[in-house]
Symmetry: C2
Subunit: 238 residues, 2 copies
């Protein structure tokens, strides 16, 4: 879970002089927004510069190459993901509650549109899975991290005696992740908000089936999850 601090030379030098770091952060904020909606390749330097009302060259100097910009953008997105998903879910005690929290917060993170284009990494993975390179490697590594977090949480829930110990953590992590990505996919493509309820129901069903008697109380009660997830009977989005 440690960020591979690359090019520390530059970063250290910039820590003293504050100006560069500030704009760099502003650039990355806009970059993440654009890239999440239009893809990391659709994130063009000219477009980004125009968005921030600065020159291409001035912006470019912060990164040195497009690939470096993409990598920095991925890293920024990861920071947001950790802040918005992993950290909140880790407020729950380890075990089934945290495992469910990871799934629940993740679905919320897509529904709340933390990134305009849904899950940043789902999009980035689909975009880069065909072309080798540093970006693809980094994205794959981050997704492996996420699956590992899920898998570890499964194992912990087993360790706490809340989940059937015969279940394979990696297998369950795969299934939970697939259901979440499925919801993201359906929402992005069809604007289908129902997909969240579907994924939630499927995840809960799966977890309930595997939960022990001690585990069950750590899952939301049968009726529905948290507060009023049924939409106010309005029109669908999109």
């Amino acid at each position: 879970m440690t960020v591979p601090a690359k090019s520390t030379e530059r970063a250290a030098a910039r820590a003293r002089r504050a100006h560069g770091e500030r704009t760099r952060q502003a650039i990355l904020e806009a970059a993440v927004d654009i890239a999440s909606a239009e893809g990391l390749e659709g994130l063009t330097i000219g477009r980004l510069a125009a968005e921030l009302s600065m020159s291409k060259s001035g912006l470019f100097a912060h990164f040195g190459s497009k690939e470096e910009l993409q990598l920095a953008t991925v890293e920024a997105a990861r920071d947001i993901f950790v802040r918005e998903v992993v950290r909140p879910a880790f407020d729950a005690p380890k075990g089934l509650a945290r495992l469910w929290g990871l799934c629940d917060v993740w679905l919320e993170y897509v529904r709340r549109e933390v990134f305009r284009g849904g899950c940043f990494f789902a999009a980035a993975a689909a975009e880069f899975d065909g072309r080798p390179g540093a970006v693809r490697d980094r994205v794959a590594a981050i997704m492996k991290e996420w699956l590992a977090v899920l898998g570890r949480s499964v194992a912990e829930a087993q360790g706490e005696g809340q989940l059937d110990p015969s279940a394979d953590p990696a297998q369950l992590a795969f299934e939970l992740n697939a259901l979440e990505m499925g919801a993201n996919w359906a929402y992005q493509l069809h604007g289908d908000r129902q997909a969240f309820a579907r994924a939630r129901a499927a995840v809960l069903e799966r977890l309930r089936r595997l939960a022990t008697a001690e585990g069950l109380p750590h899952l939301p009660s049968q009726g529905q999850g948290k507060g009023a997830r049924r939409a106010p009977r309005g029109k669908r989005k999109r």
Copy 2:
């Protein structure tokens, strides 16, 4: 399941004269291959022309715009999908056997790399879900078709008394599709062949749980699915 025959004027005129249609088909064959791996936007006219050793303009004349080329490519990919997945699965009698067949053949279709970049429509959906337009609409419609086929097969299995009639067909279709897409995603990003076994196991588990006594015989027996799916203990790909 009918193809919305657009621009029939041209197509009809071309049906008589055979020459254009032949090269057009050759173009689309290459286009599908490239697009599946590098995306429908990465499918560039110059690249495509070079691949076929013909001029940009000569190729371009067949479609009139890039968007038309993309749409034609999507349509060609759909034809392949129908031929390689839907049709074979429909050899099985309607009911649980066919439902399982749809899932099984789909996983095979990704594993066999019918398209170089995995499921063509998963990639196209991820690429275009953010940008409105005809391509996005068509891709979304095709995916809706697929989900409808899955859902209808669930309903038929219920009609045959092979599946728990209280299950929601759309919900189950969502789950099965999510698991399949999850396998595609894992294989594309990590080259993880195990993902197929994972998805297969999850799908089977889900279907077995919902199957009635009459339904169960239509699913593969406990041990494993069809012939020897365990890899020959060799290295992983990629």
